[in-house]
């Protein structure tokens, strides 16, 4: 599945999140393609992915997007990421 990680500028927190998501997905044997974006351009590209991950503070910027948007509080917690991925794994 295609996962888009969104942060304010697209170079910091989303990159850390991408690393964590890729690690967790690989542990779960999930096939994922993770990309990163800043909140401003995410609205345009979000619909090309299957799932959007972002922080609670930025979720409002993604309102109206057609794909599921999940928020993560601790970007460094593999368990929190895993719980979300489990909902979408099949």
């Amino acid at each position: 599945m295609n996962i888009l990680c969104v942060c304010g500028n697209g170079i910091g927190t989303s990159v850390l999140l991408k690393v964590n998501v890729e690690q967790v997905a690989s542990d779960m044997n999930m096939d994922v393609n993770v990309t990163t974006s800043d909140a401003g351009s995410a609205k345009g590209t979000a619909n090309m992915s299957d799932l959007v991950l972002t922080s609670p503070q930025l979720a409002a910027e993604l309102e109206g997007v057609d794909v599921p948007v999940e928020t993560i509080e601790n970007f460094m917690d593999p368990d929190e990421v895993k719980k979300i991925l489990e909902k979408y794994a099949d």
Binding site: T13, S55, M76
Partner: protein
């Protein structure tokens, strides 16, 4: 990899047990580490503060940890990071993850140049033991050594 770390996270980028009055002050310290290492101009420090003012404290990405940064601009001279460990934790207004005791400053020329170092940081911080050791490491060498495992 070792050269990468000394290039992106040199001794001059560390402020260990520094004191901050509030979150703006904490970000200013992260900015100082970046400026002192030749990564950014002072304008980038203001940009990092403005990012939080505009978008909220989303940069507090894990309990006690803020990743201070802004977007690539003319104020970014080279890609690099700074590492600020506060002597006393300060609140950033992020309910889930306050208060913050470690501020990592990030200046990126694009989203790729710092990927290797960021991957190492993500790996270390998502490992409870390495993360705990990072909080107590006393020198830049010790911190770089933990990140490079």
């Amino acid at each position: 990899m070792a050269t990468d770390f000394e290039q992106f996270l040199p001794d001059s980028a560390f402020l260990i047990d520094a004191e901050a009055q509030d979150w703006r002050d904490a970000i200013r310290l992260a900015g100082k580490g970046l400026v002192d290492s030749g990564f950014t101009t002072n304008a980038y420090t203001d940009d990092m503060i403005a990012t939080v003012e505009a978008m909220g404290p989303y940069i507090v990405i894990a309990p006690g940890l803020a990743l201070a940064h802004s977007r690539p601009s003319a104020a970014v001279l080279h890609t690099g990071l700074s590492w600020v460990r506060l002597s006393k934790a300060v609140p950033f207004g992020n309910e889930a993850n306050d208060p913050v005791s470690l501020v990592i400053g990030l200046a990126g020329r694009d989203e790729n140049e710092h990927l290797q170092v960021m991957s190492a940081i993500a790996r270390a911080l998502s490992n409870p033991q390495a993360s705990e050791e990072l909080r107590h490491a006393a020198t830049p060498e010790a911190i770089r050594a933990i990140l490079q495992r």
